[in-house]
């Protein structure tokens, strides 16, 4: 403990250098925590998905639609209890930069099948009663200041919905009751979108309620079998697989984001190691003096390594703190509803701080070893 003040004083020797080193570690930890949060968001969506909901999409891709006539066929499959559908709308709210997810849904069945969409009974009824009504997540409402009764005008983003703007009235603000649903989206009536669609009766995906999760694979196979060799073949998966395939549309996120995080951490490691080496080089005489006073090599080692660890962990705490503050601040609405439950968890923040400690230890290892092995006479002669 008595050496801690010595380490602190030493770290403050060059305030600018210490601050910049801590800042570089902070940036690395911030990026790491944020990127992990994105991955966690996708994984949480899959983990929080229902085992009794399965999803049917076009076999070619989620972006291609299916005819609404599939509805009756799917309903007839043994084991399917309930059914709903939705489309990706892709509208533009004032400016393309104001990105958030909008889904045209069969409202009644959708709310029935997604009890995680939490609405007051009054709001629910108002939404169901209004053909141009919409509900928005509370996170989205906070981001854009939407209130019940507000008008939202969306420009058409996908040409299949014509060219005329869509005007919606906010009838409710929902809360997300589970990670399968996010609070950054807008839901409105599929019929309203379909009325204006150039090709009528197109459905993006079906959500099916099944009675027995154990039979999910068999039911999915039955459904897909029904459409084999038709122009609109399907691919049916559990909601969990659907979420995972949704994430895979962006490529191998684990590899991509993991590589970025790794590169940032390694670069920061070199920066921190170089700084520590410079710092020790400048203090060669001081270290020699401390050794002359009787400080053993081990104490010198921990003194230098401790300084690296302290600066790095300080940066880690700043980075993790900023990540929690900025990424978890819903006002940014950074995911636009793409990633449910997006946020830096405490575990992620702690891992980030752990990584910063790792950077500090590794970066300080070589300079600390060199300082501990310093030959006193040689070091004193250098300045004499």
């Amino acid at each position: 403990m008595k050496f801690l003040s010595l380490i602190l004083k030493s770290a403050r020797r060059s305030k600018r250098r210490t601050a910049l080193t801590a800042l570089s570690v902070a940036v690395a930890v911030f990026l790491f925590s944020s990127l992990r949060a994105v991955l966690d968001g996708f994984n949480a969506g899959a983990a929080g998905s229902s085992s009794t909901r399965i999803i049917t999409i076009r076999s070619t891709s989620l972006i291609f639609a299916m005819p609404s006539s599939h509805t009756n066929v799917i309903r007839g499959v043994d084991g399917v209890q309930d059914l709903s559908w939705a489309n990706w709308f892709g509208g533009i709210y004032k400016d393309p930069q104001n990105f958030f997810a909008q889904f045209a849904v069969d409202a009644e069945s959708y709310l029935r099948m997604y009890p995680e969409v939490l609405l007051s009974p009054d709001e629910k009824q108002a939404f169901l009663d209004d053909r141009t009504g919409a509900i928005v997540g509370d996170g989205l409402a906070r981001t854009y200041g939407f209130k019940v009764g507000d008008r939202i005008v969306l420009q058409v983003g996908i040409p299949i919905y014509g060219s005329q703007d869509f005007t919606f009235t906010v009838r409710g603000i929902y809360k997300a009751g589970g990670t399968a649903v996010d609070n950054q989206s807008m839901l409105f009536h599929w019929k309203y979108a379909d009325e204006r669609a150039i090709e009528k009766g197109q459905i993006g995906w079906f959500v099916l309620q099944i009675n027995d999760p154990e039979r999910a694979a068999a039911i999915a196979a039955d459904i897909d079998q029904k459409f084999t060799n038709t122009p609109y073949e399907t691919k049916t998966n559990t909601e969990q697989q659907f979420m995972a395939s949704f994430a895979s549309m962006f490529g191998n996120l684990n590899l991509l984001l993991g590589s970025i995080a790794f590169a940032v951490v390694v670069t920061t490691l070199f920066v921190a190691a170089n700084t520590m080496a410079m710092s020790v080089r400048e203090r060669t005489t001081e270290i020699a003096v401390m050794r002359t006073l009787g400080f053993p090599s081990q104490v010198i080692f921990f003194f230098i390594a401790g300084e690296g660890l302290l600066i790095s962990v300080l940066g880690g705490l700043i980075g993790a703190g900023l990540a929690m503050l900025i990424v978890n601040g819903e006002r940014l609405g950074v995911t636009g509803g793409f990633v449910p439950a997006f946020g830096v968890s405490t575990t992620n923040a702690l891992i980030g701080v752990g990584i910063s400690a790792g950077i500090g230890v590794v970066a300080g290892l070589v300079p600390a070893t060199l300082a501990a092995r310093l030959k006193i006479v040689d070091a004193l002669r250098r300045v004499a």
């Binding site: 005489t285 003096v289 002359t292 006073l293 009787g294 090599s297 004499a384």
Partner: protein, 223 residues
């Protein structure tokens, strides 16, 4: 006898060439002596001081200080021995710039089991001896050269070591400050019975010592 050096030889290796610095030096120093080591550059006086301080090891020979043979001790053992027995005064003071005068003097005490309160008492006593209690909160950059050297002396005596070693302690000071430092060393020797070995080029500084030895080409010579 406090110090017994017998047939001490020190050879440095520069690339493949062996450079002899001390050649079979034998020296006895009694407790309470103030010894000045003089000699031209390269005569081996600083090397001898380093050997006595336990920061370098002889190539051959025996160094016995206060009954302990230090030639051949491990690095770890030597560190402990230095902390207990040696106070070192450098020519360039070598204070830690980020520490105050008080903290610089306290530094060697961090290796002891003393409590914070006890450390404080020791430090203030040392600063009082060198006349710098009023500068205890000052950083080295806020002190004059003479004051820095006095802080360095306080750091050297704070553990009450067996031996005080000074390497050109006035070499970087003006005449007035140099005289003050020599007076302080004399006082430490006379009043506190400290055994002091001082390396110096300056004959006037050597006059303050109770005994003077001359080194030339690694051996003692008559003055």
């Amino acid at each position: 006898m406090l110090i017994e050096l017998r047939d001490v030889t020190k050879t440095y290796k520069r690339d493949t060439i062996e450079v002899p610095v001390l050649d079979g030096v034998t020296m006895m120093v009694e407790e309470g002596q103030f010894l000045a080591l003089m000699g031209p550059s390269g005569s081996g006086k600083s090397t001898l001081l380093n050997l006595l301080a336990g920061i370098d090891q002889p190539t051959r020979g025996s160094i016995k200080i206060a009954g302990s043979e230090i030639a051949g001790l491990s690095e770890r053992q030597l560190a402990g021995w230095r902390a207990r027995n040696v106070g070192f005064i450098f020519q360039l003071y070598n204070l830690i710039p980020v520490l105050t005068a008080f903290e610089n003097v306290e530094l060697p005490l961090l290796l002891t089991d003393l409590t914070k309160k006890q450390r404080r008492e020791h430090v203030m006593t040392a600063l009082e001896i060198v006349g710098l209690t009023d500068r205890s909160g000052h950083y080295p950059r806020q002190l004059s050269g003479g004051q820095e050297q006095r802080v360095a002396i306080a750091r050297a005596i704070v553990t009450d070591p067996t031996l005080l070693l000074a390497d050109e302690p006035t070499g970087d000071l003006d005449a007035k400050s140099g005289q003050d430092i020599l007076t302080l060393l004399q006082r430490l020797n006379a009043e506190f019975k400290k055994t002091i070995i001082m390396v110096t080029h300056d004959p006037h500084a050597a006059e303050r010592a109770t005994r003077v030895l001359h080194l030339e080409k690694g051996t003692f010579v008559a003055a």
